[in-house]
């Protein structure tokens, strides 16, 4: 399978990349390319121009934030680097677990956290975990040089995000919280996107619960979160996990089965995170 013809340019900087994006509305950024290239080979995506970030320096890092003691991660940091990073293993284990669950070693050597966030696959491992972690995304653009978007405002629909056509994700910020966490995913086979996955991050007595593949974007299990905050048991709260979701039916699972999975996996994730 061969992608439709396109032009390709190595951007020297983010400013150069976003300027090119502004000039050509059909242009698209390529980071690791592990989601974009398969889509292009199937011709589901046919960008006119790929703006390649692989030679932009200084966007691959993991470090503690100076302001709040959280963790900041450069957009071009690969899943492999995240999964094997000692600071993250201690400070943000759930993100390591999510990164390690993606694809296989070959895909993780190429794929990036910024690319996974911007791609916004409702079944993706990174988006759902960033949602549970209450991450912030630092975004650079040609019109607005720099802005920060809360993850709750970032995912806006089926593969749709708050990114303007001339913008790129440059950094992911994870706030510093004393927390328990759990990431539980159900897959059809070893090498697969989750049929349903649940990410739970607890902050004090409160829990943020995020669901993958239960709608057109990663979703919060709001009813479960509110029930827990009002003193419901884990079992009772988990039974509400699929409320206000709209799970797809496909060859792997019916919507009804996904609802059942969401309830069961939410219970398991809460039990793990609160243990």
């Amino acid at each position: 399978m061969i992608p439709a013809p396109f032009e390709h340019v190595f951007a020297g900087s983010i400013a150069e990349a976003t300027t090119i994006l502004q000039e050509d509305p059909e242009a698209k950024i390529i980071a690791g390319g592990q989601s974009l290239l398969p889509l292009m080979k199937l011709r589901f995506a046919q960008p006119s121009l790929l703006v390649d970030l692989s030679r932009v320096g200084g966007l691959s890092y993991i470090r503690e934030s100076e302001s709040d003691g959280g963790v900041v991660i450069g957009a071009l940091t690969t899943h492999h680097q995240i999964a094997s990073n000692p600071v993250l293993k201690e400070r943000c284990r759930i993100l390591c677990e999510a990164a390690a669950a993606i694809g296989d070693p070959q895909v993780r050597h190429m794929g990036t956290i910024g690319g996974a966030a911007a791609h916004a696959d409702p079944a993706g491992d990174i988006p759902v975990v960033l949602l549970a972690l209450q991450a912030e995304l630092v975004i650079a653009g040609a019109s607005v040089p720099k802005r920060t978007v809360a993850i709750d405002d970032f995912f806006q629909g089926f593969f749709q995000t708050a990114l303007a056509p001339d913008e790129a994700v440059v950094e992911i910020r994870i706030p510093n919280r004393d927390r328990g966490s759990a990431y539980v995913r159900f897959t059809h086979r070893a090498l697969s996107w989750p049929t349903v996955a649940v990410a739970v991050v607890t902050i004090g007595d409160e829990a943020r619960i995020a669901l993958a593949n239960m709608g057109d974007r990663p979703l919060r299990a709001g009813a479960s979160e509110r029930a827990l905050a009002e003193g419901a048991t884990v079992d009772a709260a988990a039974l509400l996990a699929d409320r206000d979701t709209d799970p797809p039916s496909d060859e792997k699972a019916s919507g009804g089965f996904r609802r059942e999975l969401a309830r069961v996996l939410t219970r398991r994730a809460l039990e793990q995170a609160l243990a």
């Binding site: 292009m40 390649d52 492999h80 296989d104």
Partner: protein, 151 residues
């Protein structure tokens, strides 16, 4: 566009379209046919090569992105490389189609984890399919090669 890619230490220069995949550059431009095109959908791992030492699926990398970087294919490992010897000794191949990808994925795995457990090997080969289902002997071969690699 004109690009130059170093494969196994030899520079290969060609005019290519940006849409040319790395696996097609390796097979058709550099004429190194040890690397297989298998599923062509980033699932089977038969096209696995090393890019700056880390395993990648060359059917899901654009050739232009490998410019100025070092690609290692199955031909780049010595004939009596410990992994090749171990695959031979342990009968870790049947039809052989997946073998170049298995060996390159194993080389990357052992570079990151020189003494992997059986479970780590199986997880490390998650992205490589063997349709002869010879996984058992492949895992044995990697276990056998691991101590030889650190000698």
């Amino acid at each position: 566009m004109r690009i130059e890619i170093s494969i196994n230490g030899t520079s290969h220069e060609a005019d290519v379209e940006p849409r040319l995949l790395l696996v097609d550059f390796i097979r058709n431009v550099a004429e190194l046919t040890g690397t297989s095109t298998g599923c062509d959908t980033s699932s089977c791992g038969a096209c696995t090569v090393l890019l700056d030492g880390a395993s990648v699926k060359s059917c899901t990398v654009l050739a232009v992105r490998a410019e100025g970087r070092e690609v290692t294919t199955i031909e780049g490992l010595p004939a009596y490389h410990p992994l090749k010897v171990a695959f031979h000794n342990e009968h870790a191949l049947q039809c052989g189609f997946c073998t170049p990808g298995m060996v390159m994925a194993s080389a990357s795995l052992l570079a990151e984890e020189p003494d992997p457990t059986e479970a780590e090997i199986r997880m490390g080969l998650k992205g490589n399919l063997c349709r002869c289902t010879g996984y058992h002997n492949i895992v044995k071969a990697i276990r056998a090669a691991a101590p030889e690699m650190t000698k």
